[in-house]
Symmetry: C2
Subunit: 248 residues, 2 copies
């Protein structure tokens, strides 16, 4: 073969934080500036707007110029075969570029190690391109930014935290609110909010919780009186943080 | 009075991340560049090196020039009166500068809303200087950076997380490892590590855990075979993350 074997590119998972481009890290910016390919997860479910939000954040902080923006579709479906096929297709498109010597930066809202598609994709890419290095740049999480926005600590001293990623099952939420933990972070509460409010009221916790949606975006909403939200059509990125205070 | 009443300064809590200065956010850098006063928490306990580490990170990213570096001592003692006095003294020194119209940026390792002295200090400052605005810049947490360093997701999909700030009580750790949570983050495991290792072995979890100390510092240590750490004198900033895998 006359063509030289190119060095394999690096596959980066880059957290871009929850919304405010200023909450990107210096490292995220450095990696995104240098990478030839920006991989963007997109979903096909209309309610989930996570698909292009990471890209919207990056574009506010950085001129993408002539970078290759690689759209990777991860349908929000429960069909395991469809999910597997989507992930394998995405991985093969990433691997193709890595094998051409291009660095690929997969951007993700928040943190790539916390509820991100990157967690599924990276092992498949490593499997198909064992020579490629995988590097991860952590990002600010939505609940950290939410606590900062209200200047209310998530936890202090010996306080313990529970993080529940998706609040769909009210019984499970109740069970977890009853555990001897000081702080309970409930992500994606939009579908179940009114029932959650009933539960918090029944437990006397309605004044020990706050609601944050789309933190760092122009449409950011911070609400400390949860009752005012009853009946509202809430954003997909709605978080409730319950600070129970004294330990049980 | 002939002297004009000055505008009150802003009191910032600024997370500088766990170690690597590149993990500071763009906003942290902007705030620190603009603030006239950098408030630095220092402890008096020799083993806790948290005292000036935040400052070490900032100095790698930023020339402090002629900024006023305000050392605030928070002794690591259990005496509540001593703690209260230290916090009140620190608050009064901050308030003095805010009332002079100076912005004060209190720097903190990791995130100001997560196990930071800022959480204690801000309410006292607000109480004494009601006109001063308090703003918080979130930071990358040590456990996010730890997960990124090993490229192992903290949690995916519907996985649930427990965060325990200080692993002093092995019975409590055991209780929490038995709960139906997928990931358990154990911070500051240095004092109890050997007993934790015994516990993990007895629960068959020793291969589902990883150890990270001083992530992002030159002395960073990442260990996936925990048994090799037995008997070692470990750093104060040692974290063990247990990924139990399948939910119970």
């Amino acid at each position: 073969m006359k063509t030289a074997v190119k060095n394999m590119g690096v596959f980066y998972g880059v957290g871009v934080g929850p919304g405010d481009p200023e909450l990107m890290t210096l490292k995220a910016l450095t990696v995104l500036k240098a990478a030839q390919v920006i991989a963007v997860p997109r979903s096909s479910e209309p309610r989930s707007e996570g698909s292009s939000q990471a890209l919207a954040i990056v574009k506010k902080a950085l001129d993408l110029g002539d970078k290759d923006v690689l759209d990777l579709v991860f349908p929000m479906v429960k069909d395991k075969d469809a999910l597997r096929r989507a992930r394998e297709l995405a991985a093969s498109r990433v691997v193709e570029r890595l094998k051409s010597g291009l660095d690929v930066a997969f951007i993700t809202l928040g943190d790539p190690m916390l509820y991100s598609t990157f967690g599924y994709l990276a092992p498949i890419v490593k499997d198909r391109a064992p020579g490629a290095a995988v590097r991860v740049v952590p990002g600010i999480t939505s609940f950290s930014a939410a606590a900062s926005a209200v200047a209310t600590p998530l936890a202090e001293a010996s306080e313990k935290i529970i993080i529940l990623p998706a609040a769909y099952d009210i019984t499970e939420i109740e069970e977890n609110l009853k555990r001897p933990f000081d702080t309970v972070v409930l992500m994606k509460v939009n579908r179940i909010f009114d029932r959650l409010l009933d539960l918090l009221c029944s437990m006397g916790l309605e004044d020990k919780a706050f609601f944050v949606a789309r933190v760092g975006w122009p449409e950011e909403e911070i609400v400390t009186d949860l009752k005012g939200l009853r009946g509202r059509d809430l954003d997909y990125f709605s978080t409730v943080i319950v600070k129970k205070g004294a330990r049980e």
